[in-house]
Amino acid sequence: MIAKLGFRNILRNKRRSVITCSIMGFGLAALIFADAFLMGLNKNMIESVTSSFMGDGQIHRENFLRTREIEKTINNSDALINELANHPRIEFFTKRVVGSGMLASPTDVVPVAIIGINPLDENKLSNLGQTIIKGAFLDNEVQDQIIVGEKLARFLGVDIGDKVVLTTAQAHSGNLNQELFRISGIFKMKNKDIDSSAIYLNTSKAQSLMNLNNEFHEIVFKFKNKSDVLNPPKDVLNFFSKNENIAESWKTLMPAIDAGLSLTAYSLYIGSFILFAIIALSTMNTLFMSLFERMYEFGVMKAIGTRPWFIFKLIVMEAVSLAIISIIAGVTLGALVTIITNQIGINHLTDVEYLGTTIKSSIRPEFALHQYVIYPLSIIIFALISSIYPAFNASKLNPSKAMKRD
């Protein structure tokens, strides 16, 4: 009887019920989509970070990243490389030499970050090769080539095939060393810092330039499992952090990204709370309007012997029924919008630089179970909570006062 009465009462004032359900339904749909969008954005950003140059994690000598001393090369590199090659959770890795120097063209000279790479390995790990917009990527066999960023090339006034002189300090002695290179390719990573100040050359050339004897400054690795990328396993990182070397994940190496992701999560929590508060107040308002309209009726129901608890349950049932109708509408709408945007992708943020990384491709909102379980359940809980006060009021009505029409 309570269910029958509750449901029919909802249909009694259709316009008001439709408006209330719309508020709750659209709110839920918006929340589901916002969550799906942020998941897509986060995934996109993580992929942008890890696939560009960062990898999923890196190993350096302790304090190298802070001091940038070229003498701080990785200790026991042969043993470490052997362990990386045989580790079940590591998919791939590559070694790099990292230093700094001055790059001079006939017209200008600029300070640059020098990165020595193995072109074949690098192509398997990062998308550096795909960012070449002019010329060609490095060749493992040709040693006097470098590739430079688009902004740097423009600043130096150089193009493919032009000669440039790279000056760098040598390890241990501090002597300066100069060599002539030809520009083989120009890349555009769409990252302001990298495009304007980084140059890439072959590892062996970088080693000889800096007087490093088959030593490396950086090992970049990728995990086999995607879940390890999202939540880098501490045991794996700890395993490689030994002999004064330190293994760190992208989260530690780019704390701004991790903080940014946390911030978006908090923003969603705050947004959800505001939305649920609006839903709760709107439900309460609807129930009170309904209550005042039906004051006389409740008075009669109480007069003829209806217990207060029955009236309380009736109001709560009406709120829950409104919530259930809204959830059906909201989940359908939210899922529909997510499916469509997931298929076509959202391109408006492509190439936008955010938190030090560039959103590389279109954002595809992602489905997750919690969007269709936790949010709808929250709607029911908030509707239940918001119905308690009106339900209590209705159950405590004095029938003789409630039945007075004037």
């Binding site: 009887m1 029958k4 009465l5 029919r8 009462n9 249909l11 009694r12 006389y296 009726e297 009669v300 129901m301 109480k302 007069a303 003829i304 012997g305 209806t306 217990r307 207060p308 608890w309 029955f310 004095n398 029938p399 003789s400 039945m403 029409r405």
Partner: protein
């Protein structure tokens, strides 16, 4: 010996604060016996409805005691009072006051549902009472699909279906035309005479006064005349 249904012992009802007090019912004592067809009459503000509300436990007296079916209802509260009203009192209101989202059948069945009567018995009793009040064939109509007279008949059926000790009717004909009102009263009178159902009306309708076996006149919250015909 006549069986007492209601015993009202020196009840009073006062509203407002001490320095601005309104005495709606002033020291009223009254006994209603089984099978009576009684009307509380008097001008507006005389206290008729208040006495009716006090009789049914809808209002709490400021003083005095009310016994209904041997129980002191002025000391009852909460679920006990709700259950007592459900089982012992039938109500008929001026504006019919049916639950608008329920059909005629469901409105009458509602009381039996509250009493946890089994479905089979419920259906049989509701059908029977609706037939008795002349609503056979209109069971599945909602109140909005019934005329005023028909709605009031549903209200009578709802009041009767639980076999209460007394039916309290507050201005039951006030919203009906004279023909419909007269027919409704004749039906109630018939039920009173054939089944010895006790009716107490609050009214200033001459049609009720003509049919009543007893008229209790109220003025300024006091009984000033009790006429048994």
């Amino acid at each position: 010996m006549q069986q007492q249904v209601i015993l009202i012992d020196q009840i009073s009802k006062k509203y407002g604060s001490l320095d601005n007090q309104v005495v709606a019912v002033d020291n009223v004592s009254l006994t209603i016996n089984r099978g009576e067809f009684t009307a509380l009459v008097g001008p507006s503000g005389s206290g008729k409805t208040t006495v009716l509300n006090l009789m049914s436990g809808l209002d709490v007296p400021s003083g005095g005691k009310i016994f209904l079916a041997g129980k002191n209802i002025s000391e009852m509260h909460g679920n006990d009072l709700s259950d007592f009203r459900r089982d012992h009192i039938g109500f008929i209101f001026q504006s019919y006051n049916l639950i608008p989202v329920l059909t005629a059948f469901e409105n009458v069945e509602y009381i039996l549902l509250l009493q946890n009567i089994p479905e089979e018995e419920r259906k049989q009793r509701v059908q029977s009472i609706l037939k008795e009040v002349g609503l056979e064939g209109r069971e599945h109509r909602k109140p909005s699909e019934l005329s005023g007279g028909q709605q009031q008949r549903v209200a009578v059926a709802r009041a009767l279906v639980s076999n209460p000790d007394i039916i309290l009717a507050d201005e039951p004909t006030a919203n009906l035309d004279s023909h419909t009102g007269s027919a409704l009263l004749d039906m109630m009178k018939e039920l009173n005479e054939s089944k010895k159902i006790t009716f107490v009306f609050s009214t200033h309708d001459s049609m009720i006064m003509e049919r009543a076996k007893r008229l209790v006149y109220l003025k300024d919250g006091k009984v000033f005349k009790d006429e048994i015909r």
